[in-house]
Symmetry: C2
Subunit: 237 residues, 2 copies
Amino acid sequence: MKKIKAALIIIGDEILSGRTQDKNINFLAINLAQIGIILSEVRVIGDFENEIIDAVNEMRKKFDYVFTSGGIGPTHDDITSASIAKAFQVKIELNQEAEQILHKFYGVEINEARLKMAMIPYGASLLDNPVSSAPGFRIENVFVMAGIPKIFQAMFFAASKELQGGDLILSKEIKIDLTESKIAKSFGDLQGKYKDVAMGSYPFDGGTSLVFRSTNKENLEQSFEEMQKIIAELKLS
Amino acid sequence: MKKIKAALIIIGDEILSGRTQDKNINFLAINLAQIGIILSEVRVIGDFENEIIDAVNEMRKKFDYVFTSGGIGPTHDDITSASIAKAFQVKIELNQEAEQILHKFYGVEINEARLKMAMIPYGASLLDNPVSSAPGFRIENVFVMAGIPKIFQAMFFAASKELQGGDLILSKEIKIDLTESKIAKSFGDLQGKYKDVAMGSYPFDGGTSLVFRSTNKENLEQSFEEMQKIIAELKLS
């Protein structure tokens, strides 16, 4: 089986200060899973150049794909593009294609601050932004995208055309009216028997959700059926 | 001024798989800020022992406080407590105080899975859990808490009694009906003038929010007033 792993780096004081509730983790997790890519780590860091450089350089080696969100706007606190250029040790330059896109969108309203959004690391290719025109970009395995959820999502759909997915992760879920502790023993034993099925349990008020996830359809179905039998027996006892 | 920095490690496949939308980052960010502690980094990692050990050991050296959420329940996928013990190179043992709490709460319903929640690293002190009794714990500067938001929040209030806050971070915000690009130049110049005021701009449909944050009240007020004048002038021009 083919495991493709991705990471997300959220760049932005607005999440860490509590001003904004993140929505990009959940969107990315769900949409990557649908094309067989496992979101394996997320980091939220502040708007600091050295933190961005360190995180990008560590994670682009460790994962097949890295996505970043935030910090590519026109203001002084938008330092992501310049920091990514430093991480890759390339120059940042006025990208002609990006410049044309911005000119077309803004017309006579173009200004210096807006043109900052056409400053792109050398060697990067652009990611289309149908919402507000200023593009994201891809450099090697790193996709640099906006933080605003609507634009992040639009850029992800542009990026997704370039992603190579792995085996699809299938999942099955069962909600039961037993507490975690009641099923813990047999659930753990079942996990021991099926190593390639990831089994998680998540308590809620009045019961527990059991989630089975695997790329192996047969073992997923089989382990899930066994668990249903175990639950039926536990309820009778 | 005294800067106190904290980090959060979210342990759990349920966030990375997209099953659950995280709510703990925002809660922690807001509540730490209120006592003068800056949430400086967040990591979301999977239920893997080596990832937990590495993240905890890296971050407990780097930050004044580290909070973890998730993985302290009764099932086989709850491996946080054992991993934390390994990170600190101490034994994990049946904690008598925790055992008593669980016995009192569950009575005759106590079982082996539930008693797993009394297995606590040697040397740790307990964090009260008024919601479902099974305690979190503190070991050195690391606070190990549940992932379920209601319990995470309750444990944080227990933990907060033990936290030493730094200078309070004051903030002021203004919403304007100008785009980011229009104010970018003068906003950037103002940031250059007031180094100890963190100025961020966040676009929304129809305008921009400008956020000023600082522990220096005087400079915060002064820079904020200057920005208001700049905005008034921009609107006239």
